[in-house]
């Protein structure tokens, strides 16, 4: 099931994401070289970039239901069509955080609550957004590619579930009543696309962007963060942009309504930042029948308000159902999208299609933070033509290609032996497998940044080197080091460097206290104990808490709660600054960053720091 079903609603509006950007530069983690100017907004290459005082908020704003479907048919007159999609009405707003300065491409949303409510704020349902990261980021505004707009041209996808869904009185809405009956385990599937991000300081909607999304039922025993279905894969150029102008998109063949439901929400380029879809000519879906491609119908993506009304989800054919023969043919052959510009000859090849043999492997949860001795339990599915592939062998490869070490930044993914995992794993009868990635101490390879980041990529076994692979589909791990504080724990003996780094990287904390000051901390013990004691998924967990290893957090809490006779935690005595050896660095990504790009930072710079796509097939075969 998932959101990509005949029963779903779409919504559109704005989102706010206000991350701090001082921590976008790995060098800013080095207390010894940190300068006050590193907290300045966009003043040069070594500054705090575009939002140094960002408070990590992630909010929904002005989001309204734009359409709903039951049994594949648009709903009219259901009160759900007048409702809002809102965030929390009872706790602090959600937060967004990067995993690491050298893996900024999996920014996760934490502690977000999502509601469906009436215009006067009456709740119909409320659920907790299970933390997940964006994926499939691309430069969608291809018209403005050369325009110095930084991250504004990007679009990305968030898919997860709402958990612990509370249903209120839904009796007025047949749609919501059906949704309520159709979903399992108090969960709902939610997916949204974010684009049109405004990163211009002083603009009314600075840190806001456009969001469109879909909510549908969630079934037990299905992945939460992707859809079991048909995955169309583009050919990418060196910058990760689709050569055929259409980006990754999933589809589901729904036998009951005899239609293919495709989510092109993050797939089609836009005309300008947050603009309407760019006219790339007729776009139609087809499946391969023998040596020919058989059309299933066109996507009317140029219709006004198409994007906000559908979130890019389309069921084809629009005007008929698929015949049994067609369904049988589609069951074992690739689905594709074609694009034909006005006046151009019919394209011989699709703009984007499923791989030749329809195989697909993906891990469900794909971001992990690990303390030494912990292990990530990674669950993955192998499918072929959208169906689980029983007994499918899957290879697992350490793959740092998606990580982002900049010039002069510490190397990533070394030492490799700090993570261990099996080279292969075999799926069960449901096409599902779980494997463990065990973490041991990386022994401080990055010196001033705790631990190390790694990537592990699962792929179908035996694929050829030219098999299309989604570069975004890998597991990101941050493995922390073991922190051993002095005994007894004192400010000078252990904690001052940690708090100093925190104060450097998160200027927003000055709104609350001066984290680099022992006295300021002593004056705020109660609130700090609360904040450091919260779970990571609590929206009030401070930004740095998600950067802190369990051992550091434990030491801080112990220190904050072990008070001397003066009612303060132990100060200790200053010790001379230890020399911090330079972290090994050097092999930055292949792309050349213009000074302008470096100055803007953000996802654009991070994207260009990646080492480029590896030769997936070859590395897989070498296992």
């Amino acid at each position: 099931m998932s959101y990509l079903t005949p029963l779903r609603l779409h919504f559109a509006g704005k989102f706010q994401a206000s991350p701090s950007t001082v921590n976008n530069n790995a060098l800013h983690f080095n207390n010894a070289t940190f300068q006050p100017s590193d907290q300045r907004r966009e003043a040069g290459q070594t500054d705090g970039w575009w939002n140094p005082s960002g408070d990590a908020l992630f909010r929904l704003a002005e989001c309204k239901v734009t359409s709903a479907f039951r049994d594949g048919m648009p709903v009219s007159e259901d009160p759900v069509l007048t409702m809002r999609i809102a965030d929390t009405d009872r706790k602090a707003p959600g937060k967004m955080a990067d995993l690491d300065p050298e893996q900024q491409m999996v920014s996760e949303i934490w502690g977000l609550e999502v509601r469906i409510c009436t215009d006067d704020g009456k709740n119909l349902l409320r659920g907790e957004y299970e933390t997940t990261a964006f994926t499939e980021l691309w430069a969608r505004d291809i018209v403005d590619l050369s325009n110095p707009v930084g991250d504004s041209k990007f679009s990305a996808v968030y898919q997860t579930v709402l958990t612990n869904v509370e249903w209120f009185d839904t009796s007025s809405s047949p749609f919501l009543e059906e949704l309520r009956k159709s979903t399992d385990d108090s969960e709902l599937s939610i997916k949204f696309n974010v684009d049109g991000y405004d990163m211009t300081w002083g603009s009314p909607f600075f840190t806001y962007g456009r969001i469109v999304g879909t909510i549908g039922p969630q079934r037990k025993n299905e992945p939460k963060r992707f859809t079991l279905g048909r995955h169309l894969m583009p050919n990418l150029d060196g910058n990760g942009n689709p050569i055929g102008q259409i980006f990754f998109c999933p589809a589901v063949v729904d036998k009951r309504t005899a239609r293919i439901i495709i989510d092109a929400g993050n797939a089609l380029p836009t005309n300008g930042i947050g603009g309407p879809q760019l006219d790339i000519g007729n776009v139609w879906m087809a499946y391969r029948k023998g040596a020919q491609w058989q059309s299933v119908g066109e996507i009317d993506y140029l219709k006004p308000e198409w994007y906000s009304n559908t979130a890019g989800v389309v069921a084809l054919p629009a005007d008929r159902t698929l015949t049994r023969t067609e369904l049988a043919e589609i069951a074992d052959s690739p689905i594709a999208l074609f694009a034909q510009s006005k006046g151009a000859p019919p394209p011989p090849q699709p703009a984007i299609s499923e791989p030749e043999n329809g195989q697909y492997v993906r891990a469900d949860r794909f971001v992990f933070r690990l303390n030494p001795g912990e292990q990530a339990e990674v669950e993955l599915w192998a499918t072929q033509w959208g169906r689980p592939q029983p007994g499918a062998p899957v290879t697992l490869t350490a793959d740092p290609s998606g990580l982002q070490a900049g010039t002069g930044w510490p190397n990533v993914a070394v030492p490799l032996d700090a993570i261990s995992f099996p080279p292969t794993v075999t799926c069960d009868n449901a096409g599902r497998a779980t494997f463990s990635i065990k973490a041991s101490p990386p022994n401080n390879p990055r010196c001033y940044i705790d631990g190390q980041v790694y990537g592990v990529r699962p792929l179908p076994a035996g694929i050829l080197s030219d098999y299309p692979v989604n570069p975004w589909d890998f597991v990101s791990l941050l493995v922390w080091d073991q922190f051993v504080p002095d005994d007894p724990i004192t400010w000078y003996g252990s904690l001052q460097p940690i708090f100093q780094q925190y104060a450097n990287l998160y200027p927003v904390m000055q709104r609350f206290l001066d984290l680099s000051s022992f006295d300021s901390i002593c004056a705020n013990l109660q609130i700090l104990c609360l904040a450091f004691g919260l779970n990571m998924d609590n929206p009030n967990s401070m930004p740095v808490t998600r950067d802190l290893s369990a051992s550091k957090r434990k030491a801080i809490l112990k220190w904050l709660t072990t008070l001397d006779a003066d009612g303060k935690p132990a100060l200790g005595t200053p010790k001379p600054n230890g020399e911090c050896p330079t972290a090994p660095s050097g092999d930055a990504g292949p792309a050349t960053l213009s000074p302008q790009m470096i100055a803007r930072g953000g996802k654009e710079a991070a994207m260009l720091r990646r080492k480029g796509a590896p030769n997936y097939g070859a590395s897989t075969e070498a296992q």
Binding site: R59, A61, D87, G202, F205, F512, L530
Partner: protein, 340 residues
């Protein structure tokens, strides 16, 4: 000094209904003082005017305590606090809820000596300020109101469920404790009155902290209030303390010039200030919703409400950077908004 409506006193006719009505009014009154104090705090730039900020913060913290005590009292006598509704939020500028219209107009303004003197100190002014022994006593002050509630309570009134009593380590246990009977109720009320007004013979409450009024007077006099070193047993109460302690400067450069009495209508639709203000109000409304739950369903959620307050501070300080004109910046309006 806040002069309350006579009708509030008349409702205290000995009936449990009148008593609950009065305590609900007390909750509204306590809450209504919080936004003006927070607004002043939000105007102080991080790291500046530390002593002034500390004084206002200490008062607003106790106002939150008083609101909590009033909710505990209402629960103790079988009532239900009503917090999460548009009507709960007062209009600024305007009178405090249940006060006489001709009285004090409470404003949202950045911190200044004038604001502290003309609004804050007036809110907290005791029935008999020690500086002004000759004042003519109006019949209906906040202190009198609380004492009337205290006098009206009977031992049979305590029918509420003890599980709904909010206690938390955020305040000392001798200030926030379960109200279960006449004795605990009267002690709790006395804490509210004394922290707000002091006693008739001393500017301090029982824990020897200066009452709110005198803490604000410290800002006005620009000096800490200290014991008069020359006072003897025969010195009259109003001469036993003097504003001659450490200097408490209010540096105007350390104050962000926020707009006075902001209003939703004053922020053009789609402007940065309007966008930030809507988001703030949605969070403030979430706080009321959370507090409604704390005081009627689950006292354990108090920590969540404190988390929302921290987020409010963050949002307000971010908003205070949005320019509205020459040397004028945006501030939150504290209005009811059920979603962002």
């Amino acid at each position: 000094m806040i002069v309350l409506e006579d009708s509030l006193f008349h409702r205290l006719d000995g009936s449990i209904k009148g008593l609950r009505h009065a305590v609900q009014a007390a909750i509204e009154l306590e809450h209504a003082t919080i936004p003006p104090y927070l607004y002043a705090l939000y105007s102080i730039k991080p790291g500046k005017n530390v002593e002034v900020a500390q004084i206002i913060r200490s008062v607003v913290r106790e106002e939150m305590l008083h609101m909590t005590i009033a909710c505990n009292l209402l629960n103790a006598i079988g009532g239900t606090p009503e917090i999460d509704s548009p009507g709960f939020l007062p209009k600024y500028p305007g009178p405090l809820p249940h006060s006489v219209q001709s009285g004090l107009v409470v404003t949202l303004a950045p911190v200044s000596i004038a604001q502290v003197k003309n609004v804050f100190a007036k809110i907290e002014e005791p029935e008999i300020p020690l500086d002004f022994p000759d004042i003519v006593l109006p019949p209906t002050t906040i202190g009198k109101f609380y004492r009337k509630i205290s006098d009206t309570l009977k031992s049979g009134d305590f029918t509420g469920h003890p599980k709904q009593q909010v206690t938390a380590a955020w305040w000392p246990s001798d200030q926030l404790f379960p109200i279960t009977d006449l004795v605990s109720a009267r002690s709790a009320i006395e804490i509210i009155v004394e922290q707000g007004e002091g006693t008739t013979t001393s500017p301090t409450d029982q824990s020897l902290e200066f009452a709110h009024y005198y803490r604000f007077e410290e800002i006005i006099h620009k000096h800490r209030l200290i014991k008069n070193p020359h006072a003897g047993p025969s010195t009259p109460p109003n001469k036993r303390y003097i504003y001659r302690g450490v200097r408490i400067p209010l540096d105007r450069k350390g104050v962000q010039p926020l707009i006075v009495n902001p209003a939703v209508k004053g922020y053009p639709s789609g402007s940065a200030a309007a966008v930030a203000n809507d988001a703030f109000n949605a969070t403030y409304t979430a706080l009321l919703h959370c507090l409604q739950s704390v005081f009627t369903v689950n006292p354990q959620q108090l920590a969540t409400s404190i988390g929302i307050m921290e987020s409010l501070k963050d949002q307000a300080l971010a908003m205070s950077q949005i320019p509205l004109g020459t040397n004028l910046y945006a501030g939150p309006t504290f209005e009811y908004r059920k979603f962002n």
